[in-house]
């Protein structure tokens, strides 16, 4: 297939879409969250209901990816009105079809947030939950059928890819990405454009692009939702990256815990191959690119790039010292570009709208938007995307709907086991890379766990240390032994058996582990401890017995 053939297909699909404009669309959320709440049964029942009423020619039913408010699921969105129904079960489908589609009267008590707002919004886009958000990486996630490439093509899918292949040189693409100022969304926030440029500059016959979908942070499900809701977007991003850096092969490393994401991504690859969007001489150009899925086998450390590479090579996922960086010597010793799922999902809009457009969103040092996975003691748990620089207060109260059960906000945990806590005093912090770092936390991949007064911060630190201890690959001593020792000390504090000396030793150890570990896992393992110590020190001190014991000489055996 060449470029012309693809345009013909897109044209035909768009014409079909135009003809269907009068049709009502019922989007049923089939993201992992809603499926767990029973949306597949809802979808089946809805199809039966529409068929039974003979409305098939007037109503399109679309199974879509994640819409956001996961704990209100299963969700149905009616377009063009944009009425969203929450907690739909098979018993009220008939009522929704009758009222919404035939009588044109929305059922207020079933609308989204009907139970938490004085009056729900009939057009959900007016609700602060959606109004405060800005969807770029998640755009179209809740609108299109992730299992149909045609749906993606109609929504300007592969348009950026086509533009890149025929109108831009690799240098142009890199310049555009650099101008957008996008930074890696996996957590560390390295400027993506520079990474691409570095890989581009190494001369090699073979280069690789890797999509890092090993979302290991507990409490994070952004990558999962993007891969499940719009897999083609990620694939397009990978192919554009391949073109820009000169790679001909891509690997998507996806967690084994995400079977649906794996299934949909593999399907997307198959569909793209069929249309000639992957393969040799793509659309008649000089560029050849192929993508394979690699399934992760459950090791948190494999989110670290060198460990991930080892895992793709079929080995134990242990990290290597850097340099050499993967950009120079990565997969099988070849220059390799590794980007996070969310970063790759933002590539095609940047190419379509220009780097300047993207760079104007967000703050001076952190451009664009960020997807957060809101969870914990919050009313509207789910997936959100906001411009960088949105305050934590806006996220928790305007979008998140406040603390569950009317409790009091105590802290928000970001960055998972590598991050830290933000206490109530800093509710007005702007969510961007620098502000979070200055508070001793990190942006991380985007997990945001809200805690109320019932959460014990020492136990939270112990929980994360247990996680790091368990997930340490064991290669370097500071991490392997240090996390174990810190965990035992934290356990001692939790059991009310620790002395002031233990607390001192704990802080000392934290510095050693942070400084001496080989990779990011150990290097950031003390973060949850240090940040809870910084903001909630009294919780530690309250549990210390013998506060007067301050040094080793005080510790004389009593017998």
């Amino acid at each position: 297939m060449n470029r012309h053939d693809l345009k013909t297909i897109i044209y035909a699909e768009k014409a079909k879409e135009q003809n269907n404009k009068q049709k009502h669309k019922l989007c049923v959320c089939c993201g992992a969250g809603c499926i767990s709440s029973g949306s597949e049964d809802v979808l089946k029942k809805l199809q039966e209901e529409v068929k039974h009423r003979g409305l098939e020619s007037e109503i399109d039913i679309i199974p879509t990816g994640c819409m956001g408010p996961c704990n209100q699921g299963p969700l149905i969105k009616c377009l063009p009105e944009y009425a969203v129904y929450q907690k739909v079960d098979c018993s009220n489908i008939s009522r929704i079809v009758q009222s919404q589609l035939i009588d044109k009267k929305p059922i207020e008590d079933l609308l989204l947030f009907a139970d938490s707002r004085p009056k729900p919004f009939i057009d959900a886009q007016e609700d602060p939950y959606f109004k405060k958000q800005m969807k770029i990486a998640l755009r179209n996630c809740g609108h299109l059928n992730p299992e149909k490439i045609e749906d993606y093509l109609v929504h300007d899918g592969y348009k950026a890819y086509d533009k890149v292949l025929f109108e831009m040189s690799p240098e142009d693409v890199i310049a555009e990405i650099k101008q957008s100022r996008i930074r890696g969304r996996g957590g560390a926030g390295f400027p993506t454009g520079f990474k691409w440029e570095t890989v581009y500059k190494y001369v090699s016959k073979q280069k690789y692009v890797i999509c890092n979908g090993d979302e290991g942070d507990p409490g994070a499900f952004m990558d999962r939702s993007v891969l499940e809701g719009n897999p083609h977007r990620v694939l397009e991003g990978m192919a554009i990256a391949g073109y820009a850096v000169g790679a001909s092969k891509g690997y998507a490393y996806i967690r084994g815990e995400y079977p649906l994401a794996i299934k949909r991504f593999e399907l997307a690859i198959k569909q793209a191959k069929k249309l000639g969007l992957l393969g040799t001489n793509i659309l008649g150009s000089e560029f050849s690119f192929d993508v394979e899925v690699r399934i992760g086998a459950g090791a948190f450390v494999c989110g670290e790039e060198t460990a991930l590479i080892a895992s793709i090579e079929g080995k134990r996922g242990t990290p290597k010292p850097r340099p050499p960086y993967p950009a120079e010597s990565g997969l099988w010793g070849k220059p390799t570009l590794i980007n996070n799922v969310e970063t790759l999902a933002a590539i095609s809009p940047i190419i379509n709208n220009g780097g300047e457009w993207y760079s104007e969103i967000g703050t001076a040092k952190s451009a664009g938007t960020k997807v957060f996975a809101l969870a914990g003691k919050i009313n509207n748990a789910g997936l959100i995307e906001v411009p960088m620089g949105t305050t934590l207060r806006e996220i928790i109260y305007d979008i998140g709907g406040g603390i569950q059960g009317g409790g009091e906000f105590k802290a928000a945990q970001t960055g998972g086991p590598s991050g830290g806590c933000i206490p109530a005093a800093h509710l007005d912090v702007k969510m961007d890379y620098e502000s979070l770092t200055s508070l001793g936390s990190i942006m991380g991949s985007g997990g945001l766990i809200v805690m109320d007064q019932s959460s014990d911060m020492v136990d939270v630190a112990r929980y994360f240390m247990e996680f790091c201890m368990d997930e340490s690959c064991g290669k370097c001593v500071p991490c392997r032994v240090g996390t174990k020792m810190m965990h035992d000390l934290l356990q001692k504090i939790c059991d009310n058996k620790a002395t002031a000396l233990d607390l001192e030793r704990l802080q000392e150890l934290a510095v050693y582990v942070k400084e001496a570990s080989l990779c990011g896992l150990g290097g950031s393992a003390p973060n949850p401890l240090l940040s809870t110590l910084r903001h909630f020190r009294e919780e530690y001190e309250n549990r210390i017995i013998h506060p007067e014991v301050k040094s080793k000489t005080d510790l004389q055996p009593t017998t």
Partner: protein, 171 residues
């Protein structure tokens, strides 16, 4: 005695006509017997057996020309792979941060109290296995428990116990 029989079954020669062996053989052929496809092949093997018996690992190591130690060390490194049977029915409790904040531990305690099984253990009759996961990514629905591949959203311990009991009775 149980340990002895288990040892014997694990060491039993693989039958080439076993459909599960055929699946693994086909996967290895598809991957061109490349050692770097080891993890992919182990996924296939675990999907068909439910766990990774020792004789299967030996078979894979022979076919890929890899030392058995390399195969074993890879298997033992990753949480996903299991050398032991996980039980006919499985109860996997997510202990990710969101689930932890919302009381996953209470569910685990209750499961342990009722069935006398700690995470990683399988009941003597192989009916039920209890596991924990670091995060299954269903944080919006915390606490989450997976019973036989089916996610139980916003789980509470009584409902989980009841569900497990009914599953164990049906077969």
């Amino acid at each position: 005695m149980t340990a002895h029989t288990q040892h014997q079954t694990q060491e039993k020669e693989l039958s080439k006509t076993d459909p599960r062996v055929k699946l693994i053989a086909a996967k290895m052929k598809k991957e061109n017997y490349k050692p770097d496809a080891l993890i992919e092949i182990l996924h296939t093997a675990q999907n068909s057996y439910g766990h990774l018996p020792m004789n299967v690992l030996k078979y894979i190591s022979k076919e890929l020309h890899l030392p058995p130690s390399r195969v074993f060390s890879t298997v033992s490194f990753y949480h996903f792979f299991s050398l032991k049977s996980k039980g006919e029915h499985t109860c996997l409790v997510c202990t990710g941060t969101a689930c932890y904040v919302k009381g996953a531990q209470q569910i685990l305690n209750e499961v342990e109290r009722v069935f006398n099984l700690k995470p990683g253990q399988v009941s003597a009759d192989n009916k039920l296995g209890v596991q924990v996961a670091r995060c299954i990514g269903a944080c919006g629905l915390a606490p989450a428990v997976i019973i036989n591949d089916e996610v139980q959203a916003k789980a509470d311990s009584d409902a989980i116990i009841a569900k497990l009991k009914s599953k164990m009775e049906t077969v």
